[in-house]
Amino acid sequence: MNYFYSILLLFTIGALGSLFLGKKDQAANLWGNLFAIAGSVAGLIFSIQTLLSGTTPILTVPSAFPLLSFTFKFDQLSTYFMLIICTIATLASIYALGYVKHYYKKYNIGVLGFFYNIFIASMILVATSHNALFFLIVWELMSLASYFLVIYENREHNNIKAGSLYFMMTHVGTAFIVLAFLLMYSVTGSFEFEAIKTGIVHAPSQITNLILLFALFGFGTKAGIIPLHIWLPSAHPAAPTHVSALMSGVMIKTGIYMLIRFSLFFLPAVPLWWGLLILILGAVSSLLGVLYALAEHDIKKLLAYHSIENIGIILLGLGSAFVFVSAHLYSLAAIGLIAALYHTLNHATFKALLFMGAGSVISETHTRNIEEYGGLIKHMPQTALFFLIGSMAISALPPFNGFFSEWMTFQSLFQGVLRFDVLTKLTFILSAGALAFTGGLAAACFVKAFGATFLARPRNQEVAHTKEPGVPLRAGMAGLAALTIVLGFFSGTVTGFLNKVAASLINLSGTETMIHAQTQSVNIANNFAFISMPQIFIGLVAALTVVAGITYLLTRTQKVSRNITWDCGSDLSPRMEITATGFSRSFITVFQKVLKPLKETEVEYDDERMKYFPKSNAIHLELQDIYMPYIYQPLRKLVLDTAGQMKKIQVGYTNAYILYILIALIGILFVLAL
């Protein structure tokens, strides 16, 4: 058990040491990231060992004050999330070793290392803490560390703005979480997770419903569920890339982790409406997430919107699991839960990979605007390959891991369609439809992202000077790309493993097993569906080899010559090839009812009266934000108005305040006397 402390100690040394080294750039970078790697690897080994041994170590830190004693518990769910955090943190830290170099002499590297180490450690603590008070402390620590990382590049005004929005949203979320835990405390009289679990069984359903709603607001904000997502697309891109990878890949998943913890651990008798609500939110988040991503031209923002989409997909799996639990169909609930857990891991890998790919491109081209790239595949072939693998995985194309977890999510939704009454069934059908459209639109979006970034001719002179990024950056990406392939190939093994995690949360005893998973194949609901990822992989590779071989034999005498692209007789220029804006314009037109595009044209004329010869033309395209004017600004106005009313009793004389205290005291005495 001391082993767990030594993991935390590694991060602490990493944090303090790099802060101490401060402006000695090279040393601070090495110190901070090497300790982060060491801590993450140690955490990785610890979590794998614990998961494989099947034990549930508990770590209690006693104290004279009951409120200050706290517990860690490494049950299957916590350890699984710790595994995800440590895996991505290891590779992100390797990447950081090289990436941080471009901050040398510009920003304080020690501060970056300090918050980075604290950030990883706090995420591990969030996943493993088993006491509400301590949980809130480390949750706050995680939010603060990530806030400081978001505003790390503080010379850019937009980053500060993004950070402030994130700071506010995350604290509003935390307020709801505090409310949820206080409600549970009022019923159970304890902050210990185990005591809450046993004590809350007798709580009236109004209270538990309220707890679930508070949890949804609190953790939904962190997870980035639409419409609570507004901080995410601006905060994730602002952070340094390795932090973006961790935030998008891992941190938002802590929200998912706590939603699972609340719904299946604390309140295992979840009501039907809860599952349906999660399903609907999942469908909305996935569809809208991918649509906003399509319209986005900042590559990191595009990826951030895809995080919202994937959180939606995870929620589709989770929501169906909750619906099944509410109907006591526990073995079916396991399918949805495994789908959600698997997609959590998969999204962490390919999203971190994509962020790192984007980061490598940004560090070479010094812009996040996708329109200024083009043709990068010729200068950065390896980065392009890694980004392509990530793009295919996130678009759910076989044989990669994203396909398998989406397949599984589909299957759990199909099981829902087969059962239940008409309205519930309709929710499942439409969710399956939303998932299908999401898959197609995600593929479209990544054709755009990959095509505009890496293919065709450069649209900016900067591209000519780009080169492959350093070894650590490529090593981090290569590791994640390999993981993407491995998690796709061995999906049967991983599913079998996740079945145990699911069984620790859902009471599967006495029910018919609905998932049979081997390395070879995964079988769902007694031959309702089966799939073999290794066979798909091998089959595709075999088909490709045979096709390439035969074509080569048939055509080896033919010449291949190089010439220019067909240009209709004019000179080809970069302005002739399609831009990301052009690519996505038709999608925006089709979905204009939802996306509400705005178009402003500005024309300046040589002669204002004649208006025949325009001097300059400008066009400004953007999407109208519907969340700020319709949800957040009315809320802000409400808060300000209420505060204004409160101000009236604030007269500024000490005597008056003493009077208020006296009145309050008498009031309390009366209440107590009654």
Binding site: G375, L388, L397, F410, Q411, F414, V417, L418, V422, I429, G433, A436, F437, G439, G440, L441, A443, A444, V447, G451, A452, L455, A456, R457, N527, F528, A529, F530, I531, Q535, I536, L540, A543, L544, V547, A548, T551, L554, T555, Q558, K559, V560, R562, N563, I564, T565, W566, C568, L572, M576, E577, I578, G582, F583, S584, R585, S586, F587, T589, V590
Partner: protein
Amino acid sequence: MTNILLVLLQIILIPAVSPLFIGLTRKVKAKLQNRRGAPITQPYRDLWKLLHKDEVVSHDASWVFLAAPYLIFASTIFIGAIIPLFSTTLPTIFTSDFLVVIYLLAFGTFFLALAGIDTGGAFGGFGSSREMLVASLTEGGLVLSILTLALISHTTNLTGIIHNMTSMPLINFAPVILAFASFTISLLAETCRYPFDNPSTHLELTMIHEAMILEYSGKRLALIEWASANKYLIFIALGVNMFFPWGITGSGNASQILVTLLLFMVKAGLFCLGIAALESSIAKLRIFKLPKLLFTSFALSVAAIILII
């Protein structure tokens, strides 16, 4: 021994006869337009000719452009091997889940669209954009139309679907007609037919598929053309075998296979006639009218699923 031969037959059947069905469709369309039309075997000759031509590749093209035809063609071969064509008892070594088939088709579309962008021409990128628009909006209707059958037959495995559909009483086929209509719309969209795309156009304003492959020549063009023929036959095979499955199941001995194989060819041929007739009777739609048609396909499938439960 026969089993191995049958599996081999299954694997090569799609690429072997797919040009024939393209030729047949073209011939029927020509006849309906009062033309004589090229012989049915013309697509074979075209492929043969292209395979013997030298190739010109753009300076701007990267390995994505060079590899895409192989990847696309290989994916259609793989799909052709895993979907049931003339038997449901064949020891196919693959898992023929319908989602695998749909997402493998998306795999091909993904690379085709990338190849369209890769050369940096003015047409390719717009072809890719349009193709992805149509493909992504087709997905919902396509998944749900096959899901209708999957729910009726209690399996998402294509072999299982076809096997169970044959034993279905005819009266149960009412909702299937809706699903079939939805599937047919998806078929037209995915295989670049009217009213979505004109397979024989080279007019900049209207082309989708042809715009993406404009820069290809020689053997790579042959592979792409052949792959799109394969895709066409795959959709036809899915259509006839899932929605009109009678006669596919058999004991699996050689003489019976011959009968089911012939039956498959006849059914697919008839379906081709239907598509050609449908194509000849409608006009191409404006691109922004297409989503409405695709959402109709989605709505039809939802209605079909509601009806069966």
